[in-house]
Amino acid sequence: MPQPRFDELRERLLRAGIAPRHVRRYVGELRDHFDDLVREDLSKAMSRDAAETAARTRLGSEGDLAGVMLARPALRSLTARYPWAVFGVGPVVLLIAGLVAAVAIEMQALHLATLLLPNPAHRLPPEGAMQIVAAWNGIATLVAPLGIAGLLCFMGARQRMPARWIFAGVVIACVLGGFQRLSFADNGYHGEMMLGSGLLPPFPRDLLAAGIWRALIDLALVGGAWWILLRRGSSPA
């Protein structure tokens, strides 16, 4: 009789909202406990089959083991308790926080650059420097929404959340993120940082059109990655 893997127990607990870290530790502890019980009985000259059967009985049925864990609501994850906060409010807060952080870091870096590299002749900034700033802005506006959507997928799959919550979070991250734009221009006399959203008045046409495309591309990318992971049968938990 092989060592129990407690796969069904793990799935049942995750689907019921028990935090993945508690589930992982619980299953690990039960496996170790099973091993200890088997060793104890083997040392009493019991056969392996008999020892494993006795160990299963002493450990408790999977129904009992699940029941005692489910009876403790404090062990449920925040994701399971407040899915609207994680998948609804979470992406909005993360997108805003990411943008604010990116702008703050960029402003500090540009301020430092003007202090360290004074430009009395008002020359245009080096191409390389502008590319670095553009790459940074790209990470903040193009990569961050994808990263947040990926994070929500990971958290949802890990906690076996209903697909509707994961889908809602991904759509919010991709749509809100897709309509943002952060850019920087410098004519040698002064620099200008622009942060805009196609979803805010006056709803600039160029941002709206680009936003729709970017949101669709992001959704396709996340959906494609999800589909590939599903086909491979991998689970983040």
């Binding site: 530790r25 690990g28 408790g60 009992d64 864990m69 062990l75």
Partner: protein, 114 residues
Amino acid sequence: MTGSSFMNGVPELLILRLLEQQEMYGYELVQAIRARTGDAISLGEGVVYPSLHALEREGALKSRRKLVNGRTRVYYAVTAKGAKHLAGLVRHWSHITAAITRAIGETRHAAATL
């Protein structure tokens, strides 16, 4: 004696009392409970872990991973908050057992009088 509503709080009491004396991992703890109670209290051995996790979450226990004989064990120990919680549980159970002992004594006395 096994699980019933009357047993609420008993696993926590035993766990905290035993872990107050020394840190233990789950299997050691269950063996200690069996030994200390003379098998009078038999818990399904796996059910001790949710109690340990919940007590840790409440701050009554702390855990650490320790490598013992090539295997990583999760050892649990009582915190200062856990010690206070234990004192409260002990007071509560002492009160209940004293009341029951008194009630049993009175019943016996009444039966003897009759």
